[in-house]
Amino acid sequence: MTDLAEALQFVYGPQVLNGLAIGVAVILMALGLTIIFGLLDVINMAHGECYALGAYLAVSLVAAGVNFWLCLLLVPVIAAAVGYFAERLLIQRVFHSRDRHVLTLLLTFGIAIIAEDVFKLIYGPNPHKVESPIQGASELLGIMLPNYRLFLIGAGTAIIVAVWLVVYRTSFGAMVRAAAFDKHMAASLGVPVQRVCATTFAFGVALAALSGVLLAPVYSVFPTMGKDFILLAFSVVIVGGMGSIKGAVLAGLVLTQIQSISSLYVSPVWSDPLVFGIMVLFLMVRPEGLAGRLGHG
């Protein structure tokens, strides 16, 4: 009996809580992806680079002497501006063509490749580190956990709730859902669809950048960090259902738990292929994912 209690306290407990901390960040990424897909029907392959953008902006701002907490506010605003103009200047150009899916995918893929190299040019290929603003560790249910991770779980949950409130309880959210359901009808009812699209894209980019800032003190910041992370976010979005907020949260929690628990038994190297295997299974068996699309109930 004590063996089980000890295993829970020293092996599974920390693993579950660490998985939760990563899961919250992944959900933030996946929410951005899924909202962008639900409304614009665009798969943002550059989403991982938006996440990296957030982390690098945090590195620069902290190096310039800006407080980390101020960064948490500033970076999403800067990233949102970048996202808004990227949508307006680039994505809108190919958005109305017949091969929209392929073109936007290639476009964002190209942006991702360019962004990765730009990061490499500016910051060099070596990892950077942002000093954690909350030091120390505290005990929770007999489990020692770094304070910053506890903060990560709390803040992430608050942001997820805020996103849900914005999408389902504000007039902007109502416009987003209406436009996702039927663009032409929404436009004829007076929704400024183009502006809503650009703002939503900016919103998604800001979410990715925010999770970049939040994770910067936990992981190191390096040019390919986005690509390593994006596959997990894509798996979450696909398992949860493209364009579904509920599904993204659910799948994000489940997949990161699977990842962190499985790494106790197999080499952590294989946790990515495992999660991807689940994604492939979902695509083969239930392509619509766990929950329905944005605007469809």
């Binding site: 893929f109 490749i113 596959l231 894509f234 991807f276 994604m279 695509l283 392509p287």
Partner: protein, 286 residues
């Protein structure tokens, strides 16, 4: 209207061949290494682009994972050369066998998905294999594979040393031109027409009596085969091999004239780039 490959395109291809031969002659005379190697690389990438073009340009399937097979070819041939036998044809055979096997598995998985999901699955597959190789010490991990022997390519009548820039350029040129001819022929067969039909209007293809997912699977497998074919250079040429993503987009072609053919006749031919089909080649009349 029978030919998708138009007359100007043929003239361009011939002009390109002449230019490339002249370039090789000048390069060999001047004793150049850098530009010949660069041109060799460009040719190899052109081979990959042709493979991707069959999928994206003709069939309308966006595969973000073809770099996987590109790297696969390099790794398999590097391992074959190093541990098995330093023979060009042996490495080529091994690469083709492994690529066919993994290409059909990857195709079987990804063909089930449509549109963006297909692109995502192929992207994910490539990323996962990349990670797996990167983390496997036996495959060299992040260092890649070092110490691949330099070989002589035996053509029966003569041998070409892979270490000589001009000689290897000519070998690659020959392979790429052969691949071009094979693919141009493939697109004229009923199978090629079916691929074009899939790009234009996939839901309609089964109604016309063709098996669209089967054709897509074959196209996918065939292109995965042609990708590593051009990629032997890595092992033959460069001392180290490591997985690097190469993404190439391809131009699209003019709308097709779908013709009736029997899907049953398609056979996957393991060794070459074209399936054996077409009991009678249909003549398009317009």
């Amino acid at each position: 209207m029978d030919d998708l490959e138009t007359r100007p395109q043929r003239i361009l291809a011939a002009a390109f061949l002449v230019f490339a031969l002249a370039f090789a002659a000048f390069g060999a005379m001047a004793g150049d290494t850098f530009f010949l190697r660069l041109a060799t690389e460009a040719l190899i990438l052109a081979g990959l682009a042709m493979a991707v073009d069959v999928l994206l340009g003709y069939t309308g399937l966006l595969s973000l994972g073809h770099a996987l097979f590109f790297g696969l070819g390099a790794y398999v041939s590097a391992l074959a050369l190093k541990h098995w036998a330093p023979s060009f044809w042996g490495a080529l055979g091994a690469t083709l066998a492994v690529a066919t096997l993994l290409g059909s598995v990857a195709g079987f998985i990804s063909i089930r998905a449509r549109g963006v999901y297909f692109a995502l699955i192929t992207f994910g597959l490539a990323q996962v294999v990349y990670k797996a190789v990167y983390n496997t010490r036996e495959l060299g991990g992040s260092d890649g594979i070092l110490g691949i022997p330099e070989i002589q390519i035996n053509f029966g009548l003569f041998t070409a040393p892979a270490a000589s820039p001009a000689g290897f350029f000519l070998v690659v040129l020959a392979f790429v031109m052969l691949m071009y001819l094979a693919l141009a022929y493939l697109m004229r067969t009923p199978f090629g027409r079916a691929l074009l039909a899939i790009r234009t209007n996939e839901p309609r293809v089964p109604f016309l009596g063709y098996d669209s997912s089967r054709a897509k699977l074959i196209a996918f497998t065939e292109t995965t085969k042609s990708a590593p074919m051009t990629m032997r250079w890595c092992s033959v040429h460069v001392p180290s091999t490591d997985f690097r993503a190469v993404r190439i987009t391809a131009p699209s072609s003019s709308p097709p004239t779908p013709r009736r053919w029997r899907a049953r006749c398609i056979r996957c031919c393991a060794a070459s780039c074209r399936p054996i089909c077409s009991p009678s080649r249909p003549r398009a009349t317009r």
